[in-house]
């Protein structure tokens, strides 16, 4: 597809990197010359410096022949304007990144009447992600598929677990659990394991299972799955607000530490059931006083990445079981990994991922059948959910007879809402959705998983 991306901040650049990798023709527009030059040097794209909402600039970027315009600047109104002008100037689809929840109400109007696709509210999406992780504290990351019926859980195998040193074949015999290990990551290297792969303590593995099987599995391997009951949040921004609301709803106690008195008062008004503490989040005595050692969950959401990391390390030392760290500039991921802090959340990355899902979904109309896409393990792997159409060429052939590419795993089949963990004898039927885990990139169709 021919894609124009307006605005090359963190979100824009992530999009450029991913979409470029998938082989799209990309033109970027940003008002800073230097940013455009940088992006053009790093990726095989064409760049224009200028205001993306101005008609001549969009004409330069060949809006007439573009298939899609993504407005990803930091300003909601500018993004909306870019999309409106792009709609009128060309015949393209448009996606606007909009953060302000006030536009949420008009979402329907904008979508229907003006023909814009909106990616709304990165704070809400981030909060959702954090809440999901907190509800299931052993997991590092959770991806959901099949409209929430299937979870792909990533967790680290603890020291002296019974999983240490056994192969996947043995795992199935020993535990008698219907779970499938999808990915295995050791020292930053990700593989799609087969039956002979050996698990070790410290590996990060991801598993697919139905909720009942999950519980049984974690009980058998001796991991506690009871969710956290007390959470401390540092920083009282928008994400905190959404997160607190979500957690309170499921009966988790929330304590928010915020340094701005006014904001504290607002929060206290909006969240009567939460404990709002007015104080500096990086004040050690304050944290101890408020019982950092007694909480099960700790979420660092201050606006400074470095402070979040330090606070998380302190919480880890204090023995908090589940720690979530917000990091905006995800540049030195390897360093973060070494800190051994389980979950890192990057709102901008989440936004980029949401937009990517839109783009993928858009490709549906161009013949691709992707329902959901998740990037995992620092983008080393993808989990894709494919819809099987009637013209699928491998109907009713047992999986063990299909020639599936190396590095691809069919992890789950959703047949009319029933979840199957596929074994060699299972078949794929039209109407199913199939979840595929792969270390290969740029898959657009279920047929891509088979060898030619």
């Amino acid at each position: 597809m021919k894609i124009i991306i307006v605005g090359c901040g963190k979100v824009g650049e992530t999009l450029v990197a991913d979409l470029c990798h998938e082989g799209h023709d990309i033109t970027v527009v940003d008002k800073e010359d230097a940013v455009v030059d940088l992006v053009c040097d790093r990726y095989d794209v064409m760049g224009f410096a200028g205001n993306g909402a101005s008609y001549p600039v969009l004409m330069d970027a060949d809006i007439e022949n573009a298939d899609l315009v993504i407005a990803a600047t930091g300003h909601d109104e500018l993004n909306l304007l870019v999309c409106l002008i792009a709609r009128k100037a060309g015949h393209c689809q448009t996606i606007a990144r909009v953060r302000n929840p006030e536009y949420n109400q008009e979402g329907h109007f904008l979508k229907e009447e003006l023909g814009l696709a909106l990616v709304l509210n990165q704070e809400y999406a981030s909060a959702q992600e954090i809440a999901r992780v907190l509800k299931f504290p052993t997991a590092i990351e959770i991806n959901t598929f099949a409209k929430g019926k299937v979870d792909l859980l990533h967790f680290r195998i603890p020291q002296e677990s019974i999983l240490d040193g056994i192969t996947l074949y043995e795992l199935h015999e020993k535990l008698k659990c219907d779970v499938l290990v999808c990915t295995q990551e050791r020292e930053g290297q990700m593989i799609i394991p087969n039956g002979n792969s050996i698990l070790r303590s410290g590996d990060v593995i991801s598993i697919v299972a139905t909720s009942e099987e999950q519980a049984a599995f974690f009980r058998k391997i001796g991991l506690k799955t009871n969710s956290v009951r007390k959470v401390m949040i540092i920083g009282g921004g928008e994400i905190s607000f959404y997160l607190a609301k979500m957690l309170l709803r499921v009966g988790i106690q929330v304590k928010i530490v915020e340094k701005d008195l006014k904001r504290c008062e607002t929060l206290a008004e909006l969240l009567p059931h939460a404990t709002i503490i007015h104080g500096e989040g990086s004040d050690r005595d304050l944290l101890n006083e408020e019982g950092i050692a007694q909480v099960e969950g700790f979420v660092a959401l201050s606006s400074i990445d470095e402070e979040n990391m330090i606070l998380s390390l302190y919480a880890k030392a204090a023995g908090v079981r589940k720690i979530v760290t917000k990091v905006d500039r995800v540049v030195f991921e390897e360093v973060f990994d070494q800190l051994n802090l389980d979950t890192m959340i990057s709102p901008k990355k989440i936004t980029a991922e949401q937009i990517l899902q839109y783009v993928r979904a858009m490709q549906n109309s161009y013949g691709s059948n992707i329902e959901t896409l998740h990037r995992m393990m620092d983008d080393q792997a993808e989990a894709l959910e494919f819809l099987i159409r009637d013209n699928f060429g491998h109907v009713a052939i047992p999986l063990k007879d299909l020639r599936i590419k190396k590095g691809v795993l069919a992890a789950c089949i959703n047949r009319n809402g029933k979840i199957l963990i596929p074994r060699g004898g299972d078949v794929i039927l039209p109407g199913d959705t199939v979840i595929v885990i792969t270390s290969l990139k740029g898959m657009n169709d279920i047929e891509d998983i088979f060898q030619n």
């Binding site: 023709d25 990309i26 033109t27 010359d33 040097d41 790093r42 095989d44 794209v45 064409m46």
Partner: protein
């Protein structure tokens, strides 16, 4: 410095040179020339070395940066000149290797300067190869290969394109570098074919039309007759004049025409200025030389041919302009410096650079009168970025430094000043003939091996617009290359800890 990546890219490029040599074999088959065996020997050498490099080197890191881009580009051009010289040397038609390299470098850089005194003595296949190097070099070797295979990972191909493409700043026409290269070559191909067709239609022998077309397309200037282009009828000379000027035009003008924006071509000030300069120069020279010709028509024809040939840096000649009055000669020398448009196949300093340089001078003049005046230099309606201005200024300075140094170096051989000066000007700007002893009726065979080497350097430096070649020869490029990132720091820290531990022991 990513040496494996450089090695592998060079390997691919050498394989492509073997492919470039193959059309010459067809000519030999047509004329039944036995000496073509040496062409095959050269091709085998290419294939073996190329395959060895490609198969043995497995780069771990595929990303290259500006530094590697410049080095690869400059190395490729030197390597191509060396390998392309093998058929000349092995077949014995040019007995001296340095002369053979000069001839090939002159071909690839589309200079068209020759050390051969008797061109007609060469077999057809060798003449074909000599002219074909013009066509290959015209649009750029790396650009051609990039259109076919992705040479490097991701956006880093842009560094290769930047190093090879003529002009102050490189703009893509479509988002992908490979597609842009393909587009350029398609336009180049169409223009080449149309010239070939028209020349054949005008009853020029097919072999001559092929070679002259390659010469004009790449703005090179190798002819197949000792008399240059003077021996062809007037109508064919006119055709050549028109196509020389067309190939010296910025190719983005053709892209605009192809995409249906023909009107916007007039908005490219470089193209309009280019045509204005041509028209002005033709008028001035015609006035100056009209006394030497029986009628005005002939004077205009020769003036136009020579102006077109020099400003596009082709270097064909129909008249011995060495005999023209000195005003006309000086105009031609000025045109040599000026050169063609950026984004064309021509050489020289490029019209757009001259335009911007003149604008800079006017701005500085203004500032001298009104010191607090704030003025921005605009070009084609857009304010020029400081980086582009700096690039142009640096180019002009380094250009004249190389020019001065080269004239000094070749002066050691004791030729007259006019010969030395124009020899360097003609090679650095990729034109071909200079004045006096290197004039259109003479050639470069008078120079000894050392001066020939200097001129080879000038040709390649001129084609790649100086900086990539200077980067190649700069010690800094090779020395402080490796900064290993985290492990580098770790090792340092470890040794410091060691020191600390040692201190404690005492």
């Amino acid at each position: 410095m990513n040496f494996p990546m450089i090695g592998r890219t060079l390997g691919y490029m050498i394989l492509f040179e073997a492919a470039f040599m193959s059309p010459a074999a067809l000519t030999a088959a047509f004329y039944r020339e036995k000496s073509v065996i040496w062409l095959f020997v050269s091709m085998v050498i290419c294939i073996v070395t190329g395959l060895l490099l490609v198969l043995l080197i497995k780069p771990k890191q595929k990303r290259i940066y500006a530094r590697e881009g410049s080095v690869i580009c400059a190395l490729v051009w030197f390597l191509y000149s060396f390998i392309g010289a093998l058929p000349f040397r092995l077949s014995g038609y040019i007995p001296n290797m340095i002369d053979a390299v000069f001839e090939t470098a002159s071909g690839f850089t589309t200079t068209g300067a020759s050390i051969l005194t008797d061109v007609e003595a060469l077999p057809h296949w060798l003449l074909f190869w000599r002219s074909f190097t013009h066509w290959v070099g015209g649009m750029g070797i790396l650009v051609f290969v990039m259109a076919i295979i992705p040479l490097a990972a991701g956006g880093s191909t842009m560094f290769l394109m930047k190093a090879e493409s003529p002009g102050p700043s490189v703009k893509k026409m479509v988002p992908k570098a490979g597609q842009t290269a393909g587009l350029l070559y398609r336009m180049y191909f169409v223009l080449t074919l149309s010239e070939l067709g028209i020349l054949i239609a005008s009853k020029m022998p097919i072999f001559d039309s092929l070679c002259l077309t390659f010469g004009t397309a790449g703005t090179g200037g190798f002819a197949v007759l000792n008399s240059g282009c003077a021996g062809y009828p007037v109508d064919q000379q006119v055709i050549l004049t028109i196509f020389m000027i067309l190939f010296g035009t910025n190719f983005s003008a053709y892209y605009l025409i192809v995409t249906g924006h023909a009107k916007d071509v007039l908005k490219i000030s470089e193209v309009t200025t280019y045509f204005a300069i041509i028209a002005g120069a033709i008028c001035l020279i015609t006035l100056n030389i009209s006394g030497m010709y029986p009628n005005l028509g002939l004077a205009i024809k020769d003036a136009a041919f020579q102006v077109g040939s020099i400003i596009t840096t082709t270097g064909f000649s129909t008249a011995d302009f060495n005999l023209w009055p000195s005003f006309a000669k000086w105009i031609l020398i000025l045109l040599m410096f000026c050169g063609a448009c950026a984004g064309s196949t021509g050489g020289g300093m490029k019209v757009s650079r001259i335009q911007v340089a003149v604008k800079t001078v006017i701005k500085e003049l203004d500032n001298a009168i009104h010191p607090n005046n704030i003025r921005k230099i605009k070009y084609d309606g857009k304010v020029l970025d400081h980086a582009v201005l700096r690039g142009i200024n640096v180019f002009i300075v380094s250009y004249f430094l190389v020019l001065g140094a080269s004239v000094a170096l070749i002066s050691i051989e004791n030729m007259d000043l006019e010969t030395n000066f124009t020899a360097v000007v003609a090679t650095l700007n990729n034109i071909g003939p200079g004045l006096s002893k290197v004039g259109p009726a003479a050639n470069f065979s008078a120079y000894g091996p050392f001066a020939t080497c200097v001129l080879i350097f000038d040709m390649i430096a001129g084609r790649l617009e100086i900086l990539p070649v200077l980067v190649l020869f700069s010690a800094h490029t090779w020395k402080d290359g490796e900064f290993l990132g985290p492990s580098f720091g770790k090792e340092r820290r470890k040794s410091k800890d060691q020191d600390f531990a040692d201190d404690l022991m005492i």
